[in-house]
Amino acid sequence: MLVQLHAKRAYAVARAIVTVHEDAEDAVQEAFVRAYQALDRFNLDQAFGPWLNRIVANAALDLARRRKVRTTDELHESLAGAFRDPGEADELKRRLGEALAQLPERMRSVLVLHDIEGFAHSEIGKTLGIPEGTARSDLHHARQRLRGMLRDLRND
């Protein structure tokens, strides 16, 4: 079944953009509904996965725009705290969550999709609707900024 086959990948794409688990679930559901409604426009000559990923990314971006009212502090907390083991103070995760939250949305999405989810640059470009070169450039800048923000932690 299509949903079963693509749900995990779709979740990864959504999560890279909206960062919060519950929002990622909402985006995935919305994306599958949109895909179902647009199925008659799907070209059978193309692969279904990238087409769906693009819809997921758009649904996640729409959701992220609606969530813009969320304060930066809330975003830090959601990134650093959502999957943190409450019994263990994990400084690296906390700082990493804060650093990721400070990255521009597209840069963070590219970094997460590439370094965490293992997407290729061309795949990221298609998913986010940006040129492959832009995805490469965004990844470079995202890594650079992240290193800068975590420098003091790594010198401890």
Binding site: M1, V3, Q4, A7, K8, Y11, A12, R15, A16, H21, E25, V28, Q29, E30, F32, V33, Y36, Q37, L79, A80, A82, F83, R84, D90, L92, K93, L96, G97, L100, V112, D115, I116, E117, G133, R136, S137, L139, H140, R143, L146, R147, L150, R154
Partner: protein, 130 residues
């Protein structure tokens, strides 16, 4: 910065990647994915039902318009038939009923009766005085 610098970009340290993967890890377990799949299918079913209702709604709107047109047409034809009948009745009555002059030709006896005893006395006095 040029393309070479971008290509030679160093990946993030392993511990950062591991921590990030841990933070972004999707919930594990088949149960979670089954629940999410059910939720997605429910969303699709709602959407399909919504589209179905939209189609039915458009049909209903067309039906309502057609029904309204039929009602208006029926009313207009009923009015036309009523007007035609009225006209026919007027024409028939004008032929079958007596004319005004016929109606006015009342016999003189009836008239004198209608005048009453005072009128008759006055006439009598007038006659004998000559």
């Amino acid at each position: 910065m040029n393309d070479n610098e971008i290509k030679l970009d160093e990946p993030l340290p392993d511990d950062v990647i591991i921590a990030a993967r841990d933070m972004y890890a999707p919930p594990g377990g088949d149960t979670y994915w089954s629940v999410l799949e059910s939720r997605i299918m429910a969303g699709i079913a709602d959407s399909a039902a919504g589209r179905w209702w939209m189609v039915v709604g458009s049909w209903a709107r067309s039906g309502m318009l057609a029904a309204a047109a039929i009602i208006v047409a029926s009313l207009v034809s009923a009015l036309l038939v009523h007007a035609h009948n009225q006209e026919m009745r007027t024409a028939y009555e004008s032929v079958s009923q007596p004319t005004i002059t016929e109606t006015m030709s009342v016999p003189s006896a009836a008239l004198s009766e209608r005048d009453g005893p005072d009128s008759r006395d006055a006439t009598f006095r007038e006659v004998i005085s000559h």
